[in-house]
């Protein structure tokens, strides 16, 4: 992530704000389309960003999503203040979810969020502290050779 040539954006995400859920990922998609990033990469970024955004909306109180684009890669870092994740290994399992019944009825909380993010990113790091919050780092390379 060296070099001067980069675009950085900082987005705020409010916990429980379902009305605006998805806006951050739409804005990021628009930027990538304007730059001319290949569709296949945009789709992976869109899915990863959307799932990360939804995790904040559904479970945390507040989150900041930092988006960085360089000619080599896209990096997304999400820091949230929230309950944190007790057992990350468990949370990474497909199908595991702590979503409420209401959330499931809205089509969320299928337990695919984190696994889906991981599946769509080239680098994926997650750290969490119970009752403090979760940090997520996602990197997607523009050029798969790296």
């Amino acid at each position: 992530m060296d070099g001067e040539n980069r675009i950085e954006h900082r987005f705020e995400i409010k916990g429980g704000d379902f009305g605006n859920a998805g806006n951050v990922s739409t804005k990021i998609k628009d930027i990538l389309k304007e730059i001319g990033i290949p569709p296949s990469i945009i789709r992976r970024v869109a899915i990863a960003t959307y799932e990360a955004e939804m995790n904040v909306v559904m479970y945390a109180y507040h989150g900041i999503l930092n988006f960085t684009l360089t000619p080599e890669c896209i990096e997304i870092i999400v820091n949230d203040k929230g309950p944190g994740i007790e057992d990350i290994e468990l949370a990474m399992q497909e199908g595991y979810s702590t979503a409420t019944e209401e959330m499931r009825e809205m089509g969320f909380g299928a337990g695919m969020g984190l696994p889906n993010i991981k599946k769509n990113s080239d680098e994926f790091e997650i750290t969490s502290e119970v009752n403090k919050g979760t940090k997520l780092r996602i990197v997607i390379y523009l050029n798969k050779k790296q």
Binding site: G22, S25, T26, G36, S40, I47
Partner: protein, 448 residues
């Protein structure tokens, strides 16, 4: 040369640059330069929203005139099922078809029959399909173009099934050319269209290749002569009966008609371009994977809401809806022969021959490094703009204006808020220059 054909034309003489079109355009494809609206070819998806809002009627849909039928030795009218919805409830499709023959067409073909066949094909395809979902209906040319331009990564979700109008055109021309001993090019298959977008799908199909249709006449243009021709029909010429109606086909005129008549359990219906955009955004975010089929229409309530229709969209919607209900109630199922359709389906008769390719907008720069630099410039310009999207510069929003400046298509002084700043700067420079001049120096000396 224009790379893309469009079915919308701006009459410069009538245009007063009032910007309503520019503000309403969902793909930001209109700019006002030198007081006249201009369409950016690569961005336009032919939705026709601009046509409806122009206070000067300066935006004209480019459909064929009625006289186009004289170009062929034999012409067949292929009316959109939306035409059936334009008249009172007592006027059933066979009367409409008879009326069309009276106003100058040699024959009229009930496209609802082809719609019914394609409905079956959709059902079969959905049943066998195992790939990513939801599959998107391909019959609305504007939705297809929207995906090509703004959602290129969703292109493979467009169902690879031919549209009923193309199936109808192909079939009737083949049949008539055998019957009459005419060459296919001497037979004109003319679509009667509820929207200008169908015109581009005929002139320049999204998938490339050539359309089986030879032109499109606006429903508005044939409405009056057709109405009086139908009034003059005597009873024996049109034995109006529900029995001649294909329930599956008639549903194509309204949003939700396909899903309703096929009784699809897991489909989603959306109409109105802005609503379609929202749903496509959701699909792009990986949502709606549990939905099998998306029926999406650019016009509100489906084809009956097209800008070239006559009847109020809710009334025409209701007519079709009631017809479907009546047919369901009376259990009338005069639809295409299922066995025949299934056989044809297996022979790939309904499969679209060509693949649809994305048509993404030109990026800020073909080189990603340079594009990022330009994006930074754009963000910087945007930061300094008033962000009120007044449009006075001729670009629809401050953001698009910043982009136009970076691309060299607009000057920063086109912004009426930036212009006074420039004046101030120039006048400051002038004062400085003045102070340095010998005239000013001598004046100073005199004063001393």
């Amino acid at each position: 040369m224009n790379q893309y054909y469009h079915s919308i034309y701006i009459n410069e003489k009538k245009c007063e640059g009032r910007m309503r079109c520019m503000r309403v355009c969902p793909t930001q494809a209109i700019r006002v330069r030198n007081g006249k609206a201009k369409i950016l070819e690569e961005r336009c998806i032919d939705c026709g929203e601009c046509i409806n809002v122009c206070p000067n009627n300066a935006i004209i849909p480019l459909t064929d005139p009625f006289t186009t039928i004289s170009k062929f030795k034999y012409t067949i009218a292929i009316p959109s099922p939306a035409l059936y919805a334009q008249f009172g409830r007592e006027i059933l499709p066979d009367r409409v078809l008879e009326g069309l023959k009276k106003i100058g067409f040699d024959d009229a073909y009930d496209v609802a029959q082809s719609c019914g066949e394609v409905s079956f094909a959709i059902q079969e395809y959905l049943r066998e399909y195992k790939g990513p979902k939801p599959l998107i209906l391909s019959s609305c040319p504007t939705v297809v173009r929207l995906i090509q331009v703004k959602y290129p990564e969703l292109i493979d979700l467009i169902m690879p099934i031919e549209t009923p109008r193309e199936v109808a055109g192909r079939e009737i021309k083949e049949k008539k050319s055998k019957e009459l001993g005419l060459k296919e090019e001497d037979i004109g298959a003319i679509y009667l269209t509820p929207c200008p977008a169908k015109m581009i799908s005929i002139k320049q199909p999204a998938e490339g290749g050539k359309s089986h249709l030879d032109g499109a006449i606006s429903i508005k243009d044939i409405y009056a002569p057709l109405l009086s021709a139908m009034e003059n029909l005597n009873k024996t010429e049109s034995r109006a009966s529900l029995k001649s109606l294909c329930i599956l086909g008639i549903g194509w005129a309204i949003a939700g008609g396909i899903s309703k008549t096929l009784k699809l359990k897991n489909s989603l219906v959306v109409s109105g371009l802005r609503n379609v955009i929202k749903v496509l955004d959701d699909i792009e975010n990986g949502k709606l994977k549990n939905i099998d089929f998306l029926e999406a229409y650019s016009c509100l309530e489906g084809c009956v809401g097209g800008s070239l229709t006559v009847e109020n969209v809710y009334i025409s919607y209701n007519k079709i809806f009631q017809l479907i209900e009546d047919l369901e109630l009376q259990e009338i199922k005069v639809c295409p022969d299922i066995r025949e359709v299934r056989k044809r389906y297996k022979e790939n008769y309904y499969l679209r021959k060509e693949k649809i390719y994305p048509r993404p907008l030109k990026p800020l720069d073909p080189d990603i490094s340079k594009a990022i630099l330009k994006m930074k410039q754009k963000d910087k310009i945007y930061e300094d703009l008033p962000k009120i999207d007044c449009g006075a510069c001729g670009s629809p929003t401050c953001e698009t204006f910043a982009e136009d400046v970076v691309k060299g298509e607009a000057k920063i002084t086109d912004c009426i808020f930036k212009l006074p700043e420039k004046f101030e700067q120039i006048s400051d420079e002038l004062i400085e220059l003045m102070k340095k001049s010998s005239y000013h120096q001598s004046k100073l000396k005199k004063e001393e």
